[in-house]
Amino acid sequence: MTLVHTTPLQQPATPVGTGDGTAFDLTMTTVRELNRALRAATSGSFTVRNPAGRHNLAVGLDAPLEVTIDGHAGYYCAGMNQLATVTVTGNTAVGVAENMMSGRVEILGAAGQAAAATAHGGLLVVRGNAAARCGISLKGADIVVEGNVGHATGFLSQKGRILVCGDAGEVLGDSLYETRIYVRGSVASLGADCIEKPVRAEHLAEIQELLDAAGTEGVSAGEFRRYGSARALYHFTADRIEAK
């Protein structure tokens, strides 16, 4: 393993290529340098040391890289991810994997608010808890949370799947469209137009598929309940014209 030292500011992106085992130490490398180097890489594995809660780590990746952030990350970690696999060994703050398009982001600790907000594709795995508004406006990605999720999870979510092995906070799935939500524990309350729906064979298969994808063990697909849209809010119906 080699340690990359880069001079802060305005240096050209380090031409990493396939930098297997390359480590960046953020006590010596700026976040901009890190992101520039990662975005220049086409494959390989990378480790980020001493992240110390810095924002915007490993953002905008667009290649099948393996990136491990060894510690806690700040806001928008692995945002806009495509193709890359990003693992954070600690916690993340607001907006991890926001607008992810593909690839995989895994948090071994807890995720802050709005995890995978507006994400179109890929998989977010949170081994700990995820805070409020997890999967807000989700547009097609999958989310597996092994712990609990905070309030307003799945708010306005349109597509994709959210699987929660623990409990869900208040107003789960408020005003959601076609995201499917599975919760193993308790649900504090359901949001507007979110209802519980029967778990059929295809849903059991879907739950198992998500558990397998996340590598979550010790949990049975039969323990989950399904929640989805009653579809009463988002269809315009002529008979409501008179109603205020």
């Binding site: 110390a52 916690n91 703050a93 608010q113 409020a132 309030h151």
Partner: protein
């Protein structure tokens, strides 16, 4: 935006270096609040019957020995720290008597805080660098049991030292706020009718005044914060310094960020983890995001989480 921090020492060694650790946290929060900064640090309690008062002269540097001389009519008074336009005075008198005397005889002075252990310092401008709050008040050399701090990015009302946080809410009580309140004008009018005075048109000062009023009405901290959750309309994370610890509460929908962390040596709260990452042992701390609408509190011993 704004940045807020709270730090609570669990060991004598950490108490001795509290100011230095807090300065490191503030350094990381300056990005969230470049307009001004302030700290309230709790330590060296004066004997019962005496008052430690932090005062600011918005007009500029002041002869604080002369002010102490005049105050000695109430009881022996001395200057504990003199920092140009700010000072910490110790007076052998009831804090409320000192407050009343200052209001009558020194109406130009702003009482930043009063109590037995609280010391408050504020300064417009960046907290770091020459002339910044950290250097100006000698924060890195201070010890204490606990402290709260604020870096301000003004979204309403002027950028001045007196508009800076923390705001005093009573004896040994103060508040820092990240967020914005939408009903502060009406609430300020109501509170003035009930005898609460305000030095500025700042919304966070109204939150502090609201708590002052609730405490006067006999509420304890929990009851006052529960009432605040009901009556304050807006977004907030509050950190409240008390004589024996600090409390953290977020608005019911958790609009504003907060991270809590605890080790055997300290408890810390900050708007962002990067401020906590500066503390020794942060990599092994228990770290979590406080739930909206829930009150978290730490007292001297034992640590209590409500």
């Amino acid at each position: 935006m704004c940045g807020i921090a709270g730090l609570f020492a669990k060991t004598p060694a950490f108490e001795a270096a509290l100011g230095d650790h807090l300065a490191g946290m503030i350094d990381q929060l300056v990005d969230r609040g470049p307009d001004s900064a302030g700290v309230a640090i709790y330590g060296d309690p004066v004997p019962e019957g005496s008052a430690k008062v932090s005062v600011l002269d918005p007009a500029g540097p002041r002869d604080w020995l002369a002010v102490a001389d005049a105050l000695s009519l109430l009881g022996s008074a001395e200057v504990m720290r003199a920092l140009g336009d700010q000072a910490v005075l110790v007076v052998a008198a009831d804090p409320e008597h000192v407050r009343a005397w200052l209001a009558e005889h020194e109406p130009g002075l702003v009482l930043l805080s009063a109590g037995r252990s609280i010391e408050t310092f504020k300064r417009a401008g960046l907290a770091v660098g020459p002339g910044g709050l950290i250097d100006a008040c000698g924060l890195r050399g201070m010890s204490g049991g606990h402290a709260i701090a604020h870096t301000r990015m003004a979204t309403e009302s002027r950028v001045t030292t007196e508009h800076s946080h923390p705001f005093s809410t009573g004896p040994d009580l103060c508040l820092v706020h990240n967020g914005s309140l939408s009903n502060h004008n009406r609430l300020r009018r109501t509170l003035r009718q009930r005898g609460v005075s305000f030095a500025t048109d700042n919304d966070s000062e109204v939150a502090a005044g609201y708590l002052t009023w609730r405490f006067r009405e006999g509420d304890d901290l929990d009851a006052a914060l529960a009432a605040a959750e009901r009556d304050l309309d807006g977004f907030f994370t509050f950190a409240i310094g008390t004589h024996d610890g600090f409390a953290v509460v977020r608005d019911p929908i958790g609009c504003k960020p907060a991270v809590l962390a605890e080790t055997d040596d300290w408890v810390a709260m900050a708007s962002e983890f990067r401020a906590i990452a500066t503390l020794p042992g942060a990599e092994h701390a228990e770290i979590w995001e406080p739930e909206p609408g829930r009150i978290y509190r730490w007292f001297r011993e034992p640590a209590i989480v409500l």
